[in-house]
Structures are given as C-alpha cells and as structure tokens.
Symmetry: C2
Subunit: 230 residues, 2 copies
C-alpha cells in the first residue's frame, strides 16, 4: 500500500501533471473515435474508410500505394486491403496496377469518391469547436506543444512520420530574433512564426537524418526556453 504523494504546496497530490495530460488526450481520442462512428452511421462510411478517402489523391495526381495507406493509418497491410476493397465496391476508389512496379497498386479517388469526400470534409471535426474556445495565443502555444509531442512520438516510431516542418530540409528554426517570425522556410525563402508551422506541408522534402537531428534539437530547446521568456 503506497503512501499518497504530496505536492510541494500541500495540496493532496494526484498523478503527476504529464499523466493527467495523457488522460486528457485519451479523452479526446475517445471523442474522436465515437464521433467517427456516429459519422459512419449517417453516411455509409466507417472511420477508417473516411480517413482513406481523405488521404487519396484524384486520378490526375500520382496515386498512393496500399502500403503507404497502411502506414499513414498505422494499420497492417491486411487491414488496409480490406478497407480499400470495401471502398472499391462502393465505387469511391479506383485501383490500378502500378506501371513502374508490377506488384504494386496505385489508388485514386473516383469522381464519386471526390464528391463523397466533399461531404465528409464539409462537416469538419466537431473538435474544432472545442479548440476554438482557446484564444489565439493559447492556440498557438497548444499547436507548438502538440508538434513537440508528435515529433517525439515519431522519433520513438510510435506514430507514422508526416510531412512536418520539423523534419523538412527547408526548415530553419529560430533563424531570426523577431519573436513573431523566428523561423525561415528555405523553400519559399521567407520568415514565418509558430502560427505557420505545418503538420502536412505539400512542399515537404525530408531532411537527411543528420541535419534533421540538428534542426529538431534547435527547434525543441528554443521553443522550450522561449516559453519561459528567454
């Protein structure tokens, strides 16, 4: 039987702050899941299927491999294959053998899929309403913290790597002293601030591991100190 820990200010201690944060994130995860299923009922799509639709490009662009879809959703290829088959039966997705590699497939949105996606994307996350309860400054701080958490998870390979600034070869964190726009993007060759940090940038180009590590160290430590007013 463990004695209860006391926090420094004599207020009876609960689990440490990070654990409560995790619990909070779990609650949001819960909401996302249950919302996803309610959505599913309204249209004919399950959460996974909707996510795949959001992922796939129109036929005019380069299609996605099945493996890429599986990675992005963090499921096994078997599961992804199931979901895709069901989407094809529903007429929302097209599949064709890849030209370059004859065992691979390329997946695209069909026109019907494109229309369906507009509907699905139209009612964007209910979560948005929750996040919009934060003021601007709070939201930006929240985004930055979120990016740090996600990146850490990615490094531990617990979450698929995505096209974020912090893994991009064009990203130069804290290149300027202007606190509103401390970062530099070498792709558009312009300074920008935390509010423009991206999670999925179309122009993303992965940095080599070495400079990625440096970039991350720089971003991570500066973002930390800046929050304390340094």
């Amino acid at each position: 039987m463990k004695a209860k820990r006391e926090s420094p200010n004599s207020f009876p201690a609960e689990p440490p702050v990070p654990e409560r944060v995790v619990a909070g994130l779990a609650k949001i995860g819960l909401a996302l899941r249950s919302q996803g299923w309610q959505e599913a009922g309204r249209r004919g799509l399950t959460p996974t299927q909707a996510q795949i639709l959001r992922l796939l490009p129109p036929p005019s662009e380069q299609g996605l491999r099945l493996g890429e879809v599986a990675d992005a959703l963090a499921v096994t290829p078997a599961t992804a294959s199931d979901a895709v088959r069901s989407l094809i039966e529903k007429g929302f997705v097209r599949k064709s053998r890849s030209g370059a590699d004859r065992r691979a497939v390329e997946l695209y949105l069909s026109p019907a899929g494109r229309r369906e996606l507009d509907q699905v994307a139209g009612l964007p996350d209910f979560l948005l309403a929750g996040v919009e309860a934060l003021d601007e400054e709070e939201t930006e701080a929240f985004l930055r913290s979120l990016i740090k958490v996600i990146r850490t998870l990615q490094e531990a390979e617990m979450i698929p790597v995505s096209r974020m600034c912090v893994t991009c070869r064009f990203f130069r964190p804290y290149a300027y002293s202007d606190p509103a726009r401390p970062h530099h993007c070498a792709f558009v060759d312009a300074p920008f601030g935390d509010r423009d940090l991206r999670l999925e940038c179309p122009d993303h180009d992965p940095a080599d591991p070495d400079s990625a590590a440096k970039t991350w160290a720089r971003f991570s430590s500066r973002a930390t100190h800046e929050a304390t007013g340094l």
Copy 2:
C-alpha cells in the same frame, strides 16, 4: 478553383491554426488507437476491454452499472454488454444483480482482473514519453488548454462528462491573486494552482447547472487573460 489565402505576413497560408491543432490531435488519436491494438496482441485484451478494466472498482466498493460503463466509453449499451460478457468469460469481471434496482447489474473487478489491471496499468501510455518532452511550464499550459477543450466538448455533449474541477461544486477558480495558486478547493479548503487541476477527482461533487456555468465562465475567461499576461 479557389485562390490561395494569404496570411498577414505573406507566408503562404495553410489551414487556420485551429484546424492544424485538430489535425495534430487526430494524429495522437491515431497513435492511441494503434498502440491499443498492439497492446491487445500482447495480452489477451482489446482496447475497449482494457479500458473497462481500468474503470471498474474492486468488489469492496460500489459496483458500476452497465449503462455507466457504456457512457464512460461513449459506446452503446449493446457494445458495452458485448465487451463485458467477454471479460466475464475471461474471468476478469464479476457481475451481480443490483440490490436496489433488480433490472440493473453491478460490475466489479475479480481478483484475476485486479492482477491483470496492474499489468496493463503498469505500462502506462507510451504517450507519456511524448508529453514528457515538454518542460514543466509548457506541460501545465498544455493541461489547462486541454481542460478548456474538453470542457467545451462536454458542454456540447460530444464527450462524456467527467469528474473535473471545473464542474465541481467545491471549485473556486481565481479566488486568490497569487498566480502560482489562484484557485481554491472548498473540499480540502486549500488554495491550489493550474498544476493541480484535475480531470478525475475522487471527491468530485457536481455543481448545480447555474453555479457550474458561473464557475466555468470565470475559469475560462481568466485562464485566457492570464495567458496574455493580464
């Protein structure tokens, strides 16, 4: 074809900040889900089953109703009933008819369930590692923002209401001017700070709707201004 929006600083605009925050939260939800299933493989428990185990009390305490379990997990009673049946077959949960209301059931952890829970809870969320990449101050700000988001979601009834400070009749937000410990808990009759804000307090007692609204308004607006230095 839509023209690209420009943000005020001429950096090419992406979706607005709140949307990116939602995207980030969704990524974390993804990680939670896929981790849950990997867990499932190791032990014989699926994510839902593990969550139920975490929820149930030992036989020495008041058992939970099936409906309460369903609410807490944000699933239908049918789904909860399924999962509970499977847990009973595995010997981790005990069920008995409620004395007070003969159609209701009371659910408890069995001794085996208790042992299993220790295992499950032992490897707490991998997410913890991610959150611990934040420094102390950042973590506290993150927790506070999270509470605001969750509470907003609860008000919109998109997420089950939980035993948080902000819905408790003992909670007096911003009762003091001390920025380190601005709140007061009338249950323990002591001041406390953001770092002690709770998501699941054992002593929680719901406030009546009227004063709950006032408390929330006070917490919400002050937390906002405080962040901007007011």
